[in-house]
């Protein structure tokens, strides 16, 4: 045991002192902070050159053009500059009136073509054509149904062209104008329809006032007072972000904790350090020392991260979403995962003679580590489904998926994490045992890497 600890201490110091440890310590906050920073920086980096739009209003009296023009002026005056800095942050929308062509199909086509040509010549950015009948409405709505997820990819059938607002441009991804115009015009259309139906615009506003939908947990009875307490508010974002974040952290800690082990073993083989060490320690002691050193390294990382998460949770008041018992499970899973995957990485390192060779052996293991990442959203949305339960009992996925399921309120039956941990313990034991056998033979092998068949033989016959 003393020798294992001496090796572990050296591995720990060697790993913590490297630049790559510092990088892995900083990478997560940097990536998160960085993306926020980049977004903040790039928020102002929009193209603020004036964009010109031609409007063809075919409604009787061209009333909607007037509304749009007025709204455009107001927008250009009030909302395109940052009130604090006075800097322009949005482009000016210049609205140009175009007299509608005669209503024959041919003339309409001709006008659309001419306007398209103007877009091509960059005279205007796009043009909007308001159908003549958009202000009318049917007394009863025919078969309107809310689109579900299945239909999202299929385009709904278009209403007749007289009843649509049509926007044409050669920049389909620039949607600021059509969103803005959509809002302005639909509000105006609704107002006009309401007036026609004998409602005052003020009344319409009252009618249209939305009703809030509040998500809550379950009500419970306080065991001391016997009174029923109101259920706590539920924040959907937090209840997805917390398990998701814990999973990501676990995923990262496994990678940060395991890959250096493989590199270390390959280095020891290439630099011919391994045999010098084997003069003093058994191969199994050497491997266990490395594993324990790496568990310590990954605990250092998680202490920093979880500390930071706790601090910010308290500061920004979302501490209630981080259940303390889940964090204890987190540390247990983390230790087992680093041992389990770390021993696989060590075995790969021992079987190969240089880093290049490790690549092809690595991908099945990487797949095992990444597997939970493919299904995490489904598992978090429905943590008690048979699919989620079964998958989280698969030992290689348990440390991430079981953890995520436990982090989603109200949690899962107590026996499931216990069964999961037993499975992980057994698998870890098998992995460490097999890796120890491979390590013992592979560590002295020079020249060429081993084939999978050879590795299996080493495991069973030594």
């Amino acid at each position: 045991m003393r020798k294992i600890l001496v090796i572990a201490a050296r591995e720990y110091v060697a790993a913590v002192r490297t630049k790559s440890f510092l990088i892995s310590l900083l990478i997560l906050p940097l990536m998160m902070g960085g993306s926020i920073l980049v977004q903040l920086l790039l928020k102002d980096q929009v193209d603020t050159t004036e964009k010109r739009f031609a409007i063809v209003d075919r409604t009787p009296g061209q009333k909607l053009y007037g509304v749009l023009d007025a709204a455009g002026r107001e927008r250009n005056e009030k909302t395109i500059t940052d009130p604090k800095t006075g800097k322009q942050i949005k482009p000016v929308f210049a609205i140009e009136h175009v007299e509608p062509s005669p209503a024959s199909a041919k003339d309409i086509e001709q006008q659309r073509f001419e306007l398209s040509e103007r877009v091509r010549r960059k005279e205007i950015f796009g043009f909007l054509e308001i159908g003549p009948n958009v202000l009318e409405y049917a007394e009863t709505l025919a078969n309107s149904k809310t689109p579900d997820a299945q239909d999202m990819l299929e385009l709904p059938p278009l209403p007749p062209s007289e009843k649509v607002i049509r926007y044409q441009s050669e920049s389909p991804t620039f949607d600021a104008f059509n969103h803005w115009a959509d809002g302005v015009l639909n509000a105006a259309v609704a107002e006009s329809r309401a007036t026609n139906a004998g409602l005052s615009p003020g009344k319409l506003k009252q009618i249209r006032e939305p009703v809030a939908l509040v998500t809550k947990g379950l009500s419970k009875r306080n065991p001391q007072t016997g009174e029923i307490e109101d259920a706590p508010n539920q924040n959907e974002i937090a209840s997805i972000a917390v398990p998701g974040g814990l999973m990501m952290l676990m995923f990262m800690l496994i990678l940060v904790g395991s890959t250096p082990l493989m590199q270390g073993v390959v280095e020891e083989k290439m630099q011919r350090i391994a045999e010098v060490l084997l003069g003093s320690v058994r191969p199994f002691q050497m491997m266990m020392g490395k594993l324990i050193g790496m568990v310590a390294v990954s605990f250092t990382l998680s202490a920093v991260y979880l500390g930071a998460v706790f601090w910010s949770a308290h500061r920004y008041g979302f501490a209630q979403y981080i259940p303390a018992d889940v964090l204890l499970w987190f540390l247990l899973y983390q230790m087992l995962a680093v041992l389990m995957f770390g021993s696989l990485f060590i075995a790969i390192g021992a079987a190969c003679t240089d880093m290049r060779e490790t690549q092809s052996m690595l991908w099945p293991v990487m797949l095992l580590i990444a597997l939970p990442m493919f299904v995490w959203l489904n598992v978090i949305r429905e943590p008690t489904s048979t699919f989620a339960t079964c998958l989280s009992l698969f030992p290689f996925a348990t440390p991430t998926l079981m953890l995520a399921r436990q982090a989603v309120p109200p949690g899962i039956p107590w026996w499931q994490p216990v069964v999961g941990v037993v499975g992980v313990l057994l698998t870890t034991f098998l992995c460490v045992y097999a890796a120890g056998r491979i390590f013992r033979v592979g560590i002295l092998m020079q020249g060429k890497g081993a084939q999978v068949g050879e590795l299996i033989r080493w495991v069973f016959r030594g």
Partner: protein, 303 residues
């Protein structure tokens, strides 16, 4: 007491027999030299003594222990393929190896060894800054820093310049003076002749020599004559009784047939030129090595 005892030890890799029924006894407190051609089984034997490899059959006892685990802290091993962690400082790496051997208070030992091998000012430098010779000396210190009773050195002097080789040779002899048993392998017959109390030669996995230098040379008898002739340009191998001539330029080494008449040889040489030197000698270890392991020689057990 015997430091190492091997009894009928065999080790094969696939169909290749690396070491074949080898028996060997290394007395405590001696310097034991392993010689033999490349690939003859020296390193395999050393690795088996270290239990890095396990013999297919036979027994190995080290420092009177059946299992090396019980004795491993008392044994120092410098393998032929050796490296150091490049990012570590010299003193750190030496302390690490001392701790692996259970030696907690290693500072005095490290300091005295660094001083002795001229590395004191490199103690706090990283290993990657050292030259090859310096790294080799650091590796040697790492092997002996925990004061082992048995030291195994696989080719300890290879690649060293004469000055550093001399420093290491002195250090090895100091180990012996301090009571340690030293086993080392070498290709340098001169070093083996000068340093070893016992010499063991292995060839194609079999023991071919084992004993003191004198006993080995006695086995080969005085069948060698070293001569220096002035004014002779003709080859000497047509002289009767001469089996083989090794020409070293200024002097020649003649191997004679068993029972050859040296007076008759001297007369024949005098007929060729002026004899400056005529010496009846034991064959050198180098000569014996070549006789055993030279091309076309069938291995059979000599000792």
């Amino acid at each position: 007491m015997k430091a190492v005892v091997l009894h009928e030890v065999t080790k094969s890799f696939g169909s290749h027999i690396a070491v074949n029924r080898l028996s060997l006894e290394v007395p405590a407190g001696t310097v034991y030299g392993f010689i033999g051609p490349n690939g003859s089984g020296k390193t395999t034997t050393l690795r088996m003594i270290m239990r890095i490899l396990h013999p297919d059959s036979g027994d190995i006892r080290v420092l009177d222990q059946q299992s090396l685990d019980a004795a491993s802290d008392r044994v120092g091993y410098l393998p032929e393929e050796r490296g150091l962690y490049k990012q570590m400082k010299v003193r750190e790496i030496l302390r690490f190896y001392a701790e692996l051997k259970g030696c907690r208070d290693s500072k005095a030992s490290i300091d005295s060894w660094l001083e002795r091998l001229g590395l004191a000012e490199w103690a706090n430098k990283k290993v990657q800054a050292l030259s090859k010779g310096m790294s080799q000396k650091v590796q040697f210190i790492a092997t002996v820093v925990a004061r082992p009773e048995l030291v195994l050195l696989d080719e300890p002097f290879s690649g060293l310049d004469p000055v550093n080789a001399e420093v290491l040779r002195e250090a090895v002899l100091d180990l012996k003076r301090d009571g340690a048993t030293v086993i080392f392998s070498t290709h340098d017959m001169g070093v083996a002749e000068k340093m070893c109390d016992f010499i063991f030669m292995i060839c194609k996995g079999q023991k071919v020599l084992d004993g003191t230098l004198k006993s080995i040379q006695d086995t080969y008898g005085s069948d060698t004559v070293r001569v220096h002739l002035d004014g002779n340009t003709e080859p000497l191998d047509d002289i009767p009784d001469v089996v083989k001539v090794a020409d070293f330029g200024n002097w020649q080494e003649l191997r004679l047939e068993r029972g050859a008449d040296t007076q008759r040889l001297l007369a024949a040489l005098m007929a060729r030129g002026k004899v400056r030197h005529f010496e009846l000698a034991h064959p050198s270890l180098h000569d014996i090595f070549v006789r055993i392991a030279g091309p076309g020689v069938e291995v059979n057990q000599h000792a």
